[in-house]
């Protein structure tokens, strides 16, 4: 199999805090804060490269979650203090990190056995497209640039819950939540929840249920930015910041 892809947001491994304009930062901050509220005490969580990584900055106080890195670590801590970085200690984005009390290291094979075996409570990752069946595309654009899927396909296939963290539309304002993904899939019917700066959406067997709308937006605002049909939840409410 030969794969051709473009520079992807989901695979962009530069620390996002250093490379995005301020407006995007604000959007992203809202997205990751909302997702952080889904964390529960004792969760083992894999945060994808880029925006999802930022969820770690907003873990609610009073709960303990353990972050998994698919290159073989449970217990990722913050970036090290300058001068304490260790070439043998990186996350899946190849960034230097630190370890927490209770950390364990293991091989890549053991790491993906853990992932594929359904032991990860929550996987958060970016996407280029998601559709109303919960299929996700985030790894390749045929005919463009070559990167590879890394661990994303395993994570979406087997994490107990998959949350997509992404901006609601492309930079050009085109919908990213589609009736059907057009790009090659990362996983078919795997996404449970989509969180954007506009909405919190649950993927159900009957379609996409809009559960929360960002403050000051209407259902129609969100629907207009979404190709797939949205079903208003009976308990539709405003997204908490």
């Amino acid at each position: 199999m030969e794969i051709i892809a473009k520079d992807l947001e989901a695979n962009d491994q530069r620390p996002t805090t250093m490379s995005k304009p301020a407006k995007d930062l604000d959007k992203r901050e809202r997205i990751v804060k909302r997702i952080a509220r889904e964390l529960r005490d004792g969760f083992y969580v894999n945060l994808g490269i880029g925006m999802p990584t930022l969820v770690a900055n907003h873990v609610p106080s009073g709960i303990q979650v353990v972050l998994q890195s698919e290159n073989g670590m449970l217990g990722i801590g913050p970036y090290p203090i300058e001068g304490q970085e260790d070439p043998d200690l990186i996350n899946a984005g190849k960034e230097t990190v630190s370890e927490m009390p209770g950390t364990s290291y293991f091989s890549s094979t053991d790491s993906f056995a853990m992932i594929r075996g359904g032991h990860i409570d929550l996987s958060v990752l970016g996407a280029m497209e998601v559709d109303e069946e919960g299929s996700i595309a985030n790894w390749t654009i045929p005919g463009k640039m070559i990167k590879g899927m890394g661990g994303a396909m395993d994570l979406v296939a087997s994490a107990r819950r998959v949350i997509v963290a992404m901006e609601h539309t492309t930079r050009e304002g085109q919908p990213k939540i589609l009736k059907k993904c057009t790009l090659p899939l990362t996983g078919s019917k795997v996404v449970d929840t989509i969180v954007t700066e506009m909405a919190y959406i649950r993927v159900t067997p009957t379609g996409l249920v809009l559960e929360e709308i960002a403050v000051a937006l209407t259902f129609d605002d969100v629907q207009r930015a979404t190709e797939a049909r949205l079903i208003p939840s009976p308990t539709l409410r405003t997204m908490e910041a």
Partner: protein, 234 residues
């Protein structure tokens, strides 16, 4: 039982053109950097490499790539190599990409005598194209085949003269499984110790898998993305 070789050059003395070689490491972390440099110096051609990444331009496996030594590569992520991209587009190299969990499990299977297994990963995607798929208990799976190699180049933190290895932190990654899946596994270590110096409960790779071992000449251990936080705050 003598597995110790003098240096990286001696360790790869008999690697012929056309070999299939597994190379440990994730990004630049835990790569057998001395063996890679030796292979670049030797100029062995027409290689099939099996490694999660392909180094970066100008370092690690990027050296082999730049020297045109790699004919075919199997891995899961190659986003750090502009050169590779160009070579693929110019059809100077064959590239096979696999999901990282499937890739690592195929290597484990190669070492464990399992010719094929089923995984849910990639079902319904192009990864499953032309592969057997199958229902087990109402869920669909893809059949994947084992990967093996002629040689495996692995890097450990510490090793004894019988080839018992201990890895350090996330530099473990693909090294332990690759050590099991080649006809000839060559280990380079930062610290070569006497037999008996490693606690038997703490051995990560038992010596049975290692045919040759040496203490690497030089460890640069380059960091790919240095990310730090200020000393104050956070």
């Amino acid at each position: 039982m003598n597995k110790v070789v003098a240096n990286s050059e001696d360790a790869i003395r008999d690697v012929p053109d056309g070999s299939t070689i597994m190379i440990g490491g994730f990004g630049l972390c835990g790569i057998p950097e001395n063996l890679i440099r030796a292979l670049a110096r030797k100029g062995t051609k027409n290689l099939t490499t099996i490694s999660n990444n392909v180094g970066v331009d100008g370092y690690g496996m990027g050296l082999l790539l730049a020297a045109g030594q790699i004919h075919r590569h199997i891995g899961s992520y190659v986003g750090e190599n502009k050169l590779l991209e160009q070579m693929v587009l110019e059809k100077k190299i064959d590239l096979e990409l696999a999901p990282q969990g499937t890739f690592s499990e195929r290597i484990r299977a190669g070492g464990a005598g399992i010719p094929a297994f089923f995984t849910p990963t990639g079902f319904g995607t192009i990864v499953a194209d032309n592969k057997e798929t199958r229902d087990f208990d109402g869920r669909m799976y893809v059949m994947e085949h084992a990967l093996k190699a002629d040689f495996a180049f692995v890097k450990a933190w510490k090793g004894d003269k019988w080839g018992n290895l201990v890895y350090r932190k996330t530099a473990r990654n693909f090294n332990p499984m690759m050590a099991t899946a080649a006809k000839i596994t060559i280990a380079e270590v930062e610290y070569l110790v006497e037999v008996g110096e490693i606690d038997p409960d703490l051995v990560h790779t038992p010596g049975i898998y290692v045919k040759r071992i040496f203490q690497g000449e030089q460890y640069e251990r380059r960091i790919e993305r240095k990310t730090v936080r200020p000393v104050v705050g956070c």
